[in-house]
C-alpha cells in the first residue's frame, strides 16, 4: 500500500507536527547520463493539482529522457521519483500506472482500432471482464472522437486519428497521470491547432494531470496551465506561462521562448554594457549567464540618428507576416539578427527599405538584465 510522504515540521515551541505532502508526482535530483554526457542534471520538481503542464525545451535538452524516466522506460543514474507518495524509482514501467502517449503513436499494427484501445484492460495483471472492457472502450472512443472507426486496421486511418487511438488506448486504463511525448509533432499545422484544443478538453473532462513535452514554444505557452522549461538537462524555469513569458529566469529560457532578443555583455549597477551600447534596465534577474533581453514587441523602429534612452542601430532585412502580427528582421553591423514584432491591432505595418539603417529603440524599463 502506498503511503503519502510527510514532512515533520518542528515548531518554535519544540513540538512537531506532521504535514502531509500532496504532490502527485515528485522528482528529486534526477540525473541521467548517456555515454558520458549528462542528459539530465539534478532535476527536481513536483506536480500537485490536476493541471496541464507543458515541458518545453530545444532538442537535446533532455525533455524526452525526463518523460521516459518518469514512465519507467529509463532508470535514472541518481535521484528519486515519487508517484502518489511512494518511491517508484526502481519500479518497472508496467506497475507504475502512468500513461504514455508516444510521438510515433506506437500503435499495435496487428490489432484493430478497437483492440488497440482495449489492449490495456484485457491484458493487465487483473484483466477486466469483457463487458466492462466493451463499455469503457466504447466510452473512451466516443470521448476522443473515433466513433465508427473501431474495426479499422491502424494503417487505414489518418495521422490525426492515430493520435486519438494512442490517446484513447492510454486513457481507457484511467491512469493518474498522462505523459505525452511531442504528441502533435507528426501532425500538420492545421491539425495541430485543432488537436491542442481537443487535448485540453479531454484533460478537463477526465480531470487528471497531463505532462506534455514539446519543442514548440507557442504550443507550450498556449496549452499549459504551467510551464517547465528545460535547458541542457536542467530546469530553467517552472511557472505559469504568463509569468515565464514576462519574466524569464535565465537568458536561455528567454531564447527558447522565441520572443526575446538576447545580447551578451557585462552588468554594472547603473546599466548593462553590450557591444551595441550601454542600456538601463527595469528588471534584474540573478543568473549565471550575463545577458540583456528585450522582447520583440517592446521595440520600436525609428529613423536613424534620433535620440532615445535605449537604442541600437541595425539595417532592415525582411518581414514575416504572422496573421495578427508582423515580425521585422533587422541585422546589426556585425551580423546579429534582431527581431521586432508589431501587433497589427496597433495599426498597419510600416514599410522599410531593405539595407537601410534604422534605430531600434525601447523603454529601458522593459529591459531585463541577467547576471
Amino acid at each position: 500500500m502506498a503511503m503519502a510522504t510527510s514532512e515533520i515540521v518542528t515548531m518554535q515551541d519544540g513540538s512537531s507536527i506532521v504535514v502531509l505532502d500532496e504532490a502527485l508526482l515528485r522528482l528529486e535530483g534526477i540525473t541521467k547520463l548517456f555515454a558520458g554526457r549528462s542528459a539530465l542534471s539534478d532535476v527536481s520538481f513536483s506536480v500537485t493539482g490536476n493541471e496541464y503542464i507543458s515541458l518545453l525545451g530545444p532538442s537535446g535538452s533532455g525533455k524526452t529522457t525526463l518523460l521516459r524516466a518518469i514512465a519507467g522506460f529509463e532508470t535514472p543514474d541518481s535521484g528519486r521519483i515519487f508517484f502518489e507518495g511512494s518511491d517508484v524509482t526502481r519500479k518497472p514501467a508496467h506497475r507504475r500506472g502512468i500513461g504514455f502517449v508516444f510521438q510515433n503513436f506506437a500503435l499495435f499494427p496487428h490489432l484493430s482500432v478497437f483492440d488497440n484501445v482495449a489492449f490495456g484492460l484485457r491484458n493487465r495483471a487483473e484483466p477486466f471482464p469483457e463487458d466492462v472492457v466493451l463499455s469503457r472502450v466504447k466510452e473512451t472512443i466516443d470521448l476522443v472522437g473515433l466513433k465508427g472507426l473501431e474495426r479499422r486496421g491502424v494503417h487505414q486511418i489518418s495521422g490525426g486519428q492515430k493520435q486519438r487511438v494512442a490517446l484513447a488506448r492510454t486513457l481507457v486504463t484511467k491512469p493518474k497521470l498522462v505523459l505525452l511525448d511531442e504528441p502533435l509533432g507528426a501532425l500538420d499545422a492545421n491539425l495541430r491547432q485543432r488537436m491542442r484544443t481537443e487535448l485540453r478538453r479531454i484533460r478537463e473532462a477526465l480531470d487528471i494531470p497531463f505532462l506534455h513535452v514539446t519543442g514548440s514554444e507557442t504550443e507550450a505557452l498556449s496549452m499549459g496551465d504551467r510551464l517547465i522549461v528545460l535547458d541542457a538537462g536542467r530546469i530553467g524555469q517552472y511557472g505559469k506561462p504568463d509569468e515565464v513569458y514576462a519574466s524569464p529566469a535565465t537568458a536561455n529560457v528567454a531564447r527558447f521562448l522565441n520572443r526575446y532578443n538576447v545580447f551578451a555583455g557585462t552588468i554594472e549597477n547603473d546599466g548593462f554594457t553590450t557591444k551595441y551600447g550601454r542600456f538601463d534596465y527595469g528588471t534584474r534577474t540573478p543568473a549565471s549567464e550575463r545577458a540583456y533581453a528585450i522582447r520583440y514587441d517592446r521595440l520600436s523602429v525609428t529613423p536613424s540618428g534620433g535620440a532615445a534612452p535605449a537604442k541600437l542601430a541595425a539595417s532592415y532585412v525582411a518581414s514575416e507576416y504572422l496573421g495578427s502580427a508582423m515580425v521585422h528582421f533587422f541585422e546589426t553591423a556585425d551580423g546579429k539578427v534582431v527581431e521586432v514584432e508589431h501587433h497589427l491591432s496597433f495599426g498597419p505595418p510600416e514599410a522599410f527599405e531593405p539595407g537601410r539603417s534604422y534605430d531600434l529603440s525601447w523603454n529601458p524599463q522593459d529591459g531585463i538584465a541577467f547576471g
Partner: protein, 301 residues
C-alpha cells in the same frame, strides 16, 4: 523552525526497469543456448585436442599421454602430402570462387537496381541447394567423364576431337566440383556489400573522368572488401572441412585432411584422427584470423 523532511514512504523494490538492469533476465534467456554450445561444441573440440595425445593400441585407446600419433603423422609422406594437398586445393578454390563469383556479384549488386530482381537472382542462385548435396556431387561424374556431357558437347561443337580425360578423377575435377558448390557463398556477401554502395559515388567518379577499370580498382573493390572477406571465410571453412566431394570426384586420388579423419575414424584410430583434427583446426584458426585482419568487420558491418 527547522524543516526535516523524512520520507516514511514505502520503497517498492520490484523487478528493475525492464530495459536496463535486466541483465539477470538476459542471462536466463541466454543460458540454454550457451550451455548447449558448451556441452556439444566446446567439450567435443577440447576432446579432440586431448585425445590427440592419447595412446593408440590396435583397437583400443587409452588416456596415457604420448606424442606417438603426432610423430606418426609428421613422419609419413602420405599424411604430409595430404596436408599440402588440402592447402593447395583450398587456395585454388578460394581464388576460383572469387574470380568466378565476383563478376556475378558486380552484376547482381551494382547493375541490377530493381530490388525484386536482385532478390530473385539471389534466390535463383540458392535453388540448386535444394537438391541434396550428395546427389549433386554424384551428378558431376556423368558430366566430367570421358563420355560425359561436357566432352560430348565440346566434341559435337567441334572444339575438340579427343575427349578430355583430365576432367574426372583429378585435382581439376575436385576444384570444379567445389567451386560450383561454394561459389554462391562468395557471390552473396559481395553482392550485399556492393548493393550498399551509393550510386551517386560512381556517378560522381565518372563525371570526374575515371574509366570503369579505375573505378573498379579504386572504389568498387575496396568497398566490397568486407564482403570478400566474409565470403572467403565461408568458403575457406567449407573447403578445409571437405571430404565428400573429393571422395566422389577424385576416386580416392585426392586425399584431403577431411578424408583422412573419416578413414581413420572408420578404422577406429581415434588418436591419429584427432591429430589431424587439431591440425585442421589450427589451419582454420590461422586462416580466419588472417582474413579478419584484412578488414575490421565490426566497423564495416
Amino acid at each position: 523552525m527547522t524543516l526535516v523532511t523524512s520520507t516514511s514512504a514505502e520503497v517498492d523494490v520490484g523487478a528493475p526497469a525492464s530495459n536496463e538492469r535486466g541483465s539477470l533476465s538476459a542471462y536466463v534467456l541466454l543460458a540454454p543456448a550457451v550451455i548447449w554450445m558448451t556441452l556439444f561444441l566446446v567439450v567435443p573440440m577440447a576432446m579432440i585436442i586431448y585425445v590427440s595425445f592419447w595412446t593408440q593400441t590396435t583397437f583400443k585407446i587409452e588416456p596415457r599421454l604420448t606424442l606417438d600419433s603426432w610423430q606418426t603423422f609428421f613422419s609419413s609422406d602420405a599424411y604430409l602430402s595430404s596436408l599440402w594437398t588440402t592447402l593447395r586445393i583450398w587456395l585454388i578454390v578460394l581464388v576460383t570462387t572469387f574470380v568466378v563469383g565476383y563478376p556475378t556479384a558486380i552484376y547482381v549488386g551494382l547493375f541490377v537496381r530493381n530490388k525484386t530482381l536482385q532478390t530473385s537472382l539471389l534466390v535463383l542462385c540458392v535453388i540448386p541447394f535444394w537438391t541434396s548435396f550428395l546427389i549433386r556431387v554424384l551428378a558431376w561424374r556423368p558430366m566430367l567423364g570421358k563420355e560425359g556431357a561436357i566432352n560430348i558437347i565440346l566434341m559435337k561443337a567441334g572444339i575438340i576431337t579427343q575427349p578430355i580425360e583430365a576432367l574426372l578423377f583429378t585435382d581439376l575435377s575436385v576444384v570444379i566440383g567445389m567451386t560450383q558448390i561454394y561459389v554462391v557463398f562468395m557471390v552473396g556477401p559481395i553482392a550485399f556489400m556492393l548493393g550498399r554502395i551509393d550510386p551517386n559515388i560512381l556517378e560522381a567518379a565518372r563525371d570526374l573522368g575515371a574509366d570503369f577499370w579505375r573505378i573498379l580498382r579504386k572504389i568498387i573493390f575496396p568497398l566490397s572488401l568486407p564482403g570478400v572477406v566474409v565470403g572467403a571465410i565461408f568458403v575457406s571453412v567449407m573447403v578445409l572441412g571437405e571430404f565428400a566431394t573429393s571422395a566422389a570426384l577424385s576416386g580416392r586420388k585426392v586425399n584431403l585432411l577431411g578424408n583422412i579423419i573419416v578413414t581413420q575414424v572408420g578404422s577406429l584410430k581415434w588418436a591419429l584422427a584427432s591429430v589431424v583434427g587439431v591440425i585442421l583446426t589450427a589451419i582454420m584458426a590461422l586462416v580466419i584470423a588472417g582474413l579478419l585482419r584484412v578488414v575490421d568487420l565490426k566497423k564495416e558491418l
